[in-house]
């Protein structure tokens, strides 16, 4: 009993239960994290309210083309070259960006964490094999890789999400592997093995919770880079043409940059805000989850 108590509850509670009240507070102590949080909340609010604020299809040609921001109160951010409402596009584009960012990160997390954990825990040939695969992925620049996948599979939301997810996991796998290696030979794991716990149980309940902090931090950065990658793909004409996305809007506006710069700039600012917010949040989380920083 005593041994069991020693082996498991303190470890998992440290990651899950105990910081719940202090994590947010620690986060809020950092002004940059607060700014990130506010921006992020705003973008989520935009995505959530898109259908209420702009119930019509954002691809509809609603007004005369090239209305400048402020020229017509009904279209506060103006219209693009086809007369589509830019404000509506930015609201609906937030959904696409967040959706792709979240799902692609989830895909990376599943692949990366599984690979890293298995690799770090079992070591040996399995580790060597998995790490060679990881290196294989790392040798190809992720953006070019995603570009190739999307070009082959046809651009659509699922294929773009898949392409970003499948190319972004290697760094996560390496991170998790390193963390697992650190814990693998710890007393806690030895105790669990002595008590007859299965490998799966040890990995899931005892090791992974302890790697959570760096994973959360890099996940927030991954979401940001996924949004950026989707935007770049859309800018290059490899976005899903049936939905509005920020990158697609920038790409479409590029042609009229010399005359109507707002068409590309406004969605560009949205991308900047989203990526910045997630990076600030990631930094904040990094500090807040870092025990040394916390006791400062």
């Amino acid at each position: 009993m005593a041994l069991l108590d020693f082996a498991s509850p303190p470890v998992s509670s440290q990651a899950a239960a105990a910081p719940r009240d202090t994590l947010l507070r620690r986060l809020l102590r950092r002004p940059s994290a607060v700014v990130g949080l506010i921006f992020f909340a705003l973008i989520i609010a935009m995505a959530a309210s898109a259908d209420i604020v702009y119930p019509d299809d954002p691809l509809d040609m609603v007004a005369q083309p090239f209305l400048w921001p402020g020229q017509d109160a009904a279209y506060p951010l103006g219209t693009d070259m086809l007369g589509r409402d830019i404000a509506s596009g930015i609201f609906h584009g937030a959904r696409v960006s967040l959706l792709i960012g979240a799902v692609a990160t989830l895909v990376s997390l599943v692949i990366g964490v599984t690979t890293g954990a298995v690799s770090g825990y079992y070591g040996g040939r399995l580790d060597a094999g998995l790490m060679r695969v990881t290196e294989l992925f790392q040798t190809v620049p992720p953006f070019l890789f995603a570009l190739a996948i999307v070009a082959i599979l046809q651009p659509s939301i699922p294929t773009i999400t898949f392409a970003i997810g499948i190319t972004a996991w290697p760094s996560l796998a390496r991170l998790v592997r390193a963390e697992v290696l650190k814990l693998r030979h710890g007393e806690m794991v030895a105790a669990s093995i002595a008590l007859g716990a299965s490998d799966g149980r040890i990995i899931l309940l005892h090791i992974l919770p302890n790697t959570l902090a760096p994973v959360i931090v890099s996940a927030s950065i991954l979401v940001a880079s996924a949004i950026l990658t989707e935007s770049s793909l859309a800018f290059l004409g490899l976005g899903d043409p049936n939905v509005v996305s920020w990158g697609g809007m920038v790409g479409a506006g590029r042609e009229v940059l010399r005359t109507d710069w707002y068409v590309a700039t406004l969605p560009g600012l949205a991308i900047v805000a989203a990526v910045l917010a997630l990076n600030l949040l990631g930094d904040g989380l990094n500090d807040a989850l870092n025990p040394k920083g916390a006791r400062r």
């Binding site: 299809d57 691809l59 509809d60 040609m61 083309p65 070259m81 086809l82 007369g83 070009a151 046809q154 651009p155 004409g237 490899l238 976005g239 043409p241 049936n242 790409g251 479409a252 042609e255 009229v256 940059l257 010399r258 005359t259 109507d260």
Partner: protein, 546 residues
């Protein structure tokens, strides 16, 4: 740079030469109002960089832009698309259409000094036009014999008449290659393909790949006094914004084939030092269209196709998507082909109510979500204009209850999908019609192309025995009136069936320096030479960058 007074003197001299050489059929009468000035280097935008400089098997646009200056053709085309003499001074067509005699200009030499003779024409016809030139194979197929009674006469004998050949006899349509450099060689891999030797006004000098290409004045050009310019420098500038800047700064003085985005044109056109010109593309007469795959379960119903035709507002498409650089098309044969165009074909004015009525009649009711059925659209991946055309179609059809999913892909995948796999519902594309429907238009409708997987032929999968018969009869019809009548009947049927929906007669544009005169004087100008171009004013210098 020559002093101004000397240039003026030369101008007067060349004007005299011009006056002496101009025959009644020449095209350059308009330029003779001011006296052309000799000298200067013209910088030209070439986009993209060509693969080869000789238009024998590869007739890509940039190849023809360069080659038009190096190779003269038998004829050249005016704005009215009538052939005007160039290397052929005159010609006769026998009443039965089976014999055509060309009388060649005397005293013409190749750039390497060898004389140009009838044997060069005969050799080119037999080895290039008839065999490997992609547009000409069908036109010259019925040439049974080429006779050269003397060095300056070529007689073509036909087994069946082939009148449309008179629409392709310019320097890029029927390129005449120097027999003495090509005979007995592998034409496609001949080294002279990339350092061409022609008879035209400019001589190939240098090609530095990825940077520039230089042509110099041909001092021995047959049209004495021409060309006026000393040098042509073609520059490769891949980025559209950089092209716009180079034009604006005057580093480049001539830029054909839509060198900048439409929105920038308005801005550039307003500048006093630039001029935007949409003439010079008449020989191409490009038409934008949608192919409606008639094998699709919805699109196989002619009422659905007519409904789509009624649902697309072509005037708005021209104005909004193509920034006015297009004119709503009435028929697949554009209005520039005056001898063949039939304005009385069934038309489909923009009328969403009529479209909905036709769809109801065809039995496709709106579902609870307002959607009747869904289609896919694959746009021609040649730039944002085509993407926006697709977005326009999506919105237009949504209004009448047809959901459209747009698909993007690269051009290789597009060609495979549409013309080989036939895995599409609606695609967009454009075809150059050329002055005779035989060359550019009928390939979209003739069922003989089906199954050949040839790009830009019968994308809709249309089969109509009557249309096939009309096309095949017109191809060998010797009487121009009877041919025109066949093409009118053809237009009536295909516009009733609308397997292909002609959208716009596209207007390509050229941007050039306002002081560059005589640069746009022909219907095939962009694929012809700049022999009449000259600088009116002091900035005829080469840009400092070169």
């Amino acid at each position: 740079m020559a002093p101004f007074s000397r240039r003026r003197f030369l101008a007067a001299a060349s004007a005299l030469a011009l006056a002496a050489s101009v025959g009644p059929t020449h095209l350059q009468a308009a330029a003779a109002t001011d006296a052309p000035v000799r000298g200067g280097t013209l910088s030209i935008i070439l986009q993209p960089e060509p693969v080869t400089l000789t238009p024998v098997a590869n007739v890509a646009q940039p190849t023809q832009v360069v080659a038009g200056n190096v190779f003269d053709g038998l004829v050249t085309y005016g704005f009215d698309l009538k052939p005007a003499p160039q290397l052929a001074e005159s010609w006769e067509v026998a009443p039965d259409g089976l014999t055509i005699t060309f009388h060649l200009r005397k005293g013409v030499t190749w750039h390497d000094g060898k004389p140009f003779t009838a044997s060069d024409v005969k050799w080119s016809l037999e080895n290039v036009w008839k065999t490997i030139h992609p547009r000409n194979k069908a036109l010259f197929e019925n040439v049974s014999a080429v006779e050269t009674p003397d060095d300056h006469t070529v007689v073509l004998k036909f087994s069946k008449p082939s009148l449309p050949i008179f629409s392709v006899l310019n320097g890029v349509g029927a390129p005449i290659l120097p027999k003495h450099l090509y005979e007995g060689t592998d034409i496609l891999n001949n080294p002279y393909n990339n350092k061409p030797v022609g008879t035209g006004p400019f001589v190939f000098k240098e090609w530095r790949k990825g940077e520039y290409l230089v042509l110099e004045r041909n001092p021995a050009y047959w049209d004495a006094g021409k060309p006026y310019l000393d040098k042509l420098v073609f520059r490769v500038i891949p980025d559209a914004a950089a092209r716009a800047a180079a034009i604006e700064k005057g580093e480049v003085q001539y830029a054909p084939f839509n060198p900048v985005p439409f929105r920038d044109v308005e801005r550039l056109a307003a500048l006093p030092n630039l001029k935007v010109e949409t003439r010079g593309y008449e020989w191409l007469s490009p038409v934008l269209y949608f192919d409606l795959n008639v094998e699709n379960p919805y699109l196989k119903d002619v009422r659905v196709r007519q409904a789509i035709a009624h649902a697309v507002d072509k005037a708005a498409l021209a104005k909004v998507v193509w920034f006015g650089y297009g004119k709503p098309a009435v028929s697949p044969i554009p209005s520039t082909l005056t001898a063949f165009h039939d304005p009385s074909v069934p038309t489909y004015p923009f009328d969403p109510k009529k479209a909905e009525a036709l769809l109801e009649e065809a039995g496709f009711k709106r579902g609870t979500d307002g959607v009747r059925f869904a289609l896919t659209h694959d746009f021609l991946p040649y730039g944002d204009d085509y993407r926006r055309t697709g977005e326009f179609l999506k919105q237009a059809l949504k209004r009448v209850g047809i959901e459209v999913a747009i698909r993007a892909q690269d051009s290789g995948a597009f060609i495979k999908r549409v013309y080989a796999d036939r895995d599409f519902d609606i695609s967009s594309s454009y075809n150059a019609a050329f002055p005779d429907p035989q060359i550019g238009v009928v390939r979209e409708y003739w069922s003989g192309w089906l199954g050949t997987k040839t790009p830009w032929t019968n994308g809709s999968g249309y089969r109509n025995a009557q249309v096939d018969a009309l096309i095949e009869r017109a191809a060998v019809e010797g009487n121009p009136q009877a041919r025109a009548a066949d093409f009118r009947a053809f237009q009536q049927i295909v516009q009733r069936d609308v397997p292909t929906l002609p959208l716009l007669e596209l207007k390509f544009f050229t941007v050039h320096a306002a002081n560059l005169k005589g640069a746009v004087e022909q219907g095939d100008q962009v694929y012809s030479s700049l022999r009449n171009a000259w600088f009116d004013g002091p900035n005829a210098d080469a840009p400092k960058g070169n």
